[in-house]
Each structure stands twice: as structure tokens, then as C-alpha cells.
Symmetry: C2
Subunit: 112 residues, 2 copies
Amino acid sequence: MCMQKNNLYKGSLSTIILSLLKEQGKMYGYKITREVEKITSGQMVITEGALYPTLHKLEAKGLLSVEIKKVNNRVRKYYFITEKGKKETVNLLREMKSFIENMEIILNPKLA
Amino acid sequence: MCMQKNNLYKGSLSTIILSLLKEQGKMYGYKITREVEKITSGQMVITEGALYPTLHKLEAKGLLSVEIKKVNNRVRKYYFITEKGKKETVNLLREMKSFIENMEIILNPKLA
DNA sequence: ATTTAATACATAAGAAAGTTAGGTATAGTT
DNA sequence: AACTATACCTAACTTTCTTATGTATTAAAT
């Protein structure tokens, strides 16, 4: 209860999507939103208005590929990471790690 | 050498400024940029184009107050945190902490 | 039987928060 | 005399979200 939803810091969504797909294989958009809510106990919410344009952007950049399937008469677009995407994910994860380390230095000991 | 500069995630700048001023007392804008670069070994760079509008915004919101001093014939605007700012900083730090925890869950074990 | 909720995609308008590129001015260094 | 550092500033632009809305199918509730 009282699961306060925390906003994303802008720029982190691509990293989240790519990392998730690199770890868990192919996934469709709606499932990504469910999965992130589930593993963060509802604290982090990916809105669809942010998600779908980002998926399209990552596909256009060649970091993701898509496979359309019909399940229960409903269309699902399964996204999976490309080789180029895997390489870029390494960079994005390094950046995120560096950001977190720097934040811990700056905000220390306030995060304790 | 090779001090790669990492970009800020948008939304984190106010938290950085408020936390720094809460910890270190009053500081002027230019000093804030120097201080952040120093303590992060040049990895995190606060651009002045981002800094000054944010300081003005935080002052307008009543989270910071300002005191103008002249040092060596140069004007310095010393910002310091207000009571309202201290309360807001607690919330912002909680949000940042939550974000980092959630990122560690989502990206785990990729950040190791 | 009809409404509501969940699933599953999408876009468009607007806000927020940065980057980039400029500007002014003084002091100190090459 | 030119350049670097200090110290402030703004404006145009871009990126990346939020909010609101739309379509369509399936399942559950009233």
C-alpha cells in the first residue's frame, strides 16, 4: 500500500528497455510496462506514451528488431535486441553506472 | 586522461544543487560547477546554460535565497537553501534513492 | 446484455529540462 | 596584445517525457 510512483529521470528509458531485452530476450511493448511495474513493486511506471515512440526510435536506429505475432486474435509486436543494440547497451550501462556512482559521491551521505 | 564526460539524466540537476547547498552552505553558481567537476573527477559537468536558469527557478520557488557580494571587483551571487528548500530536498533525495534502487533491480547484474 | 477492465497497439499536443551557442565584464597570465 | 579563468546571463533548439486521446479485441463484472 502507498506505493508511490516515482518518476523516471529523462534519458533512462532507452537504457531500461535495452537492458531488459538483452537479459530477457524478446518482449512486446505492453509486457515491458507490466514487467517493469512488477519487478519494481509498482514503484516505477513506464507510460505507453513514452514507451512506444522510444521502441520505434530504437528500431529506427537499428538497436532493436521487431517480429509481429498474432496471439488470441490480438497483434503483438515482439522486440528483440540486435548485435548493434548489444554493443550500445554496454555503453548505456556504463553511463548509468557512472551516473549512479557520481550521484552517490555528490549526495553522500544523504542517500544512506 | 580520458576523463569521459557523462551526461546528466534530465531532472537530476535540482537535486544536485539543493543537496550540495544543504551540505556545504552558501555557494555561488560558478563555484557549483567547479565543485561538481572536482568531486566527480571531471566526470560530471554542469553547463552554465543549465545551471543559471535552474538556480533562478529554485529561487522563484522559494527553495533558495540569494545574497549578492562583490569580491575582487567581481559580482558573486551566493545562493543558500531555505527551510522550504530543506524540506523539498528530503523528498528529492528520497526519489533519487528510489530511482537508483529500482535501476539496480532492473539492470542487475549488469551494473556489477 | 451491457458496461467495465484488461490487453495491445498507436499518435499528438504540450511541458520540462537539458544542450549549444552566443553575450557581457573583470582579472590574471603568456 | 591575446588568451585564459572567473562570473554572470539569455535565446534557440533538441530531446524526452506527460497527458490525453484513439482504435480494437477479450474477459470479467453488473
